[in-house]
């Protein structure tokens, strides 16, 4: 369990984290998202007492990290930068960590086994590949069988088997009613692993929500509707304030991450658009339409009231990646230039 209250960190002029408050609860995997430089790693270092906050506090199981008698029992951490002496073997590294808390040697063998490093346990960590180093870091985090895991980009450098292993590990860990805070830039992976989200940008909290709500909010109540009388339905829906567009081929159409014209996906419908007649004319004989601004339940009721049969009524959700990009667009510090020639084809 982690409680951050008003965490702030300044490095000279640079404000890395500002007035950040959130709670990481046991029993769920909480994803920690934010563009590069958003302050995720800084926040984690502050929670672990490595960086002293300029303001605010972070509590672990109700107490400041520095006051824990046995930190290893409360938190297992994997930091962004490697924290392993290159000249030491994996086994000796873990032994040195274990001895600080009087952890038995048996447990060391256990975590070595668990992360699959048995064959290289007595080799110098300096010769480890990125993924092997990451596995050793995870072994270190698990050593004390902690009640909270804090992992900064744990899948960084892992092979597909390792990525899946981490996913299962974190979900299993949460299922045992322990807390997990994990940062990653791999949104597809995050969507599979986390159920709660903390999204920050430029050091500030953007959203603290569940993955489902986050995606739903970013999807802007878009509903995919198929009906033999789509044009007539569109007329009714537009009168109710919805925005309706024809979707030519439902099988292959995907909701774009960035709708043409750069309007946010959740922009509310407005009356100054085309009239219901114009919309129904535009739709013509198309059978599928996309409706924004009305919940699917309301659409269904309106269709029934209008005596219109529905063949399909599906709320459309954007991917976590698209949702993330939409919501953090304004908080991105380091944007890429579009590669030459690609944007021109649009």
């Amino acid at each position: 369990m982690i409680e951050a209250r008003g965490l702030t960190k300044r490095y000279g002029e640079k404000v890395a984290v500002e007035d950040l408050s959130f709670t990481v609860r046991p029993g769920v995997v909480t994803g920690f998202l934010g563009p590069n430089g958003a302050g995720k790693s800084t926040t984690m270092r502050m929670i672990l007492g490595l960086d002293r906050p300029t303001g605010g506090t972070a509590l672990i199981d109700g107490r400041p990290y520095r006051e824990l008698a046995a930190p290893m029992r409360h938190v297992g951490a994997l930091l962004e930068a490697r924290a392993i002496h290159t000249g030491r073997s994996a086994a000796n590294h873990l032994l040195a960590l274990a001895q600080t808390h009087g952890v038995a040697r048996r447990r060391i063998d256990e975590v070595i086994e668990l992360v699959g490093l048995r064959d290289v346990a007595h080799k110098r960590a300096g010769g480890f590949s990125l993924g092997m180093g990451q596995r050793l870091g995870i072994a270190s985090a698990l050593l004390g069988d902690p009640s909270t895991l804090i992992l900064d980009e744990p899948v960084n450098g892992l092979d597909p088997e390792g990525i899946r292993w981490i996913r299962d590990l974190l979900r299993g860990f949460a299922a045992q009613d322990r807390a997990v805070l994990v940062s990653s830039h791999l949104m597809s992976e995050m969507a599979l692993t986390a159920t709660e989200l903390i999204v920050i940008g430029r050091g500030r909290l953007i959203q603290e929500t569940s993955v489902a709500d986050f995606v739903r909010a970013a999807s802007g109540n878009r509903v995919h509707v198929r009906s033999p009388h789509a044009a007539a339905l569109a007329e009714i829906l537009v009168r109710e304030g919805a925005t309706v567009t024809a979707t030519p081929d439902p099988a292959t159409t995907r909701l774009p991450a960035d709708p043409p014209g750069h309007q946010p996906a959740h922009q509310p419908a407005h009356r100054s658009g085309p009239t219901p007649d114009q919309v129904s004319a535009a739709i013509g004989t198309a059978e599928t339409i996309e409706v924004a601004g009305l919940a699917s339940a309301r659409i269904g009721e309106l269709a029934r009231a209008g005596g219109i049969a529905l063949h399909e009524l599906t709320p459309r959700l954007v991917s976590l990646e698209d949702a993330f990009m939409n919501i953090t667009r304004d908080a991105v510090e380091f944007t890429n230039a579009a590669p030459a020639g690609i944007g021109a084809n649009r």
């Binding site: 007492g49 008698a69 002496h85 447990r107």
Partner: protein, 313 residues
């Protein structure tokens, strides 16, 4: 629906579910990866929980000393620098004593006040560098590799780590330099005996000089540890330590004669007092020298502790 592959290396079967959510049991995933995983089920084995109480106890100082000893002994650089320290002390003892034996005999008047202990402990001049570097590496090695983050995450109070390092280092360095000092003395006196220049360990000041040598070298190493904690970089800390030990006497040597009295306060001069059997008129007594060295050491260690406690890692 899932796809099966056979790993060409050992013929084990990997099952890849077609759907990302349809995942294999984590314990089995790891178990098959290395062949001997426990076939436990569910998530308890995913984290390898030993028992409800958990494997970790409270942080106690003895545990930190054990941990620092493990860190210390498990690096090759430790054994190299220790070997170099022994080699420097014994090697220089042989060399200096052989030269002294060549040069003169008891019949020469200038050898009337010949200090037979001095050449046999002369290796301390080189050994102070190797033992100092070892002290520096004990902490800067953690900063340069990032290990310090793991260390301080487990010991967020931080200062006990510094004290544990100091205890381990002092124990090893003092024991090693004391034994090596005795050895150097014995070997050196054996060489000098050929020319009747040798003294026994019972002669005035000999045993004290051997002890003083071990004390001084240990203190230099601890000074390196403290400077390393202050500067966090190996190159910076080694340079600073060498500047204090070897550079300062040179700088003071360039000052006008009226200021030469500063010289006796320098660690290098204090070391000379501690390692020789006879004081010169211009220097402190061995007891005072030991106290002064201790004061320097404590001041530097306290500075290191303050900085370690306050600074971000």
């Amino acid at each position: 629906m899932s796809t099966q592959f056979t790993d060409p290396r050992d013929g084990r079967t990997i099952t890849a579910p077609a759907n990302g959510r349809d995942v294999a049991d984590p314990a089995n995933a790891t178990g098959s990866a290395n062949g001997t995983g426990t076939n436990g089920t569910g998530t308890a084995s995913a984290t390898g929980a030993v028992n409800a109480a958990g494997p970790a106890g409270d942080v106690v100082f003895l545990g930190l000393v054990r941990s620092e000893w493990t860190k210390f002994r498990s690096l090759r650089s430790t054994w190299w620098t220790l070997a170099l320290t022994v080699a420097a002390m014994i090697g220089l003892a042989v060399l200096l004593c052989a030269m002294a034996a060549d040069d003169g005999t008891t019949l020469d008047p200038e050898y009337a006040d010949f200090d037979a202990t001095a050449p046999s402990l002369g290796g301390a001049l080189l050994a102070q560098i190797t033992i100092g570097v070892l002290g520096v590496l004990m902490i800067t090695g953690e900063y340069t590799t990032g290990m310090i983050r793991a260390t301080l995450t487990l010991v967020p109070r931080r200062l006990p780590v510094l004290w544990a390092k100091a205890v381990v280092f002092a124990g090893v360095a003092f024991a090693l330099t004391l034994v090596t000092g005795l050895l150097s003395f014995t070997v050196g006196q054996a060489i000098l005996a050929g020319d009747d220049l040798s003294v026994s360990i019972g002669s005035p000041g000999a045993a004290r000089a051997i002890l003083g040598c071990a004390f001084f070298l240990t203190a230099v190493g601890l000074l390196g540890l403290a400077i390393g904690a202050l500067l966090r970089s190996t190159a910076g800390a080694v340079s600073a330590l060498l500047a204090v030990l070897l550079g300062l006497p040179m700088v003071v040597g360039l000052l006008p004669a009226s200021m030469q009295s500063i010289n006796r306060y320098l660690p290098a001069s204090i070391g000379e007092v501690l390692i020789s059997t006879q004081g010169s008129g211009n220097s402190f007594s061995p007891g005072t020298a030991a106290v002064m060295m201790t004061v320097y050491l404590v001041v530097t260690l306290v500075a290191a502790a303050i900085v370690l406690a306050r600074r971000d890692v």
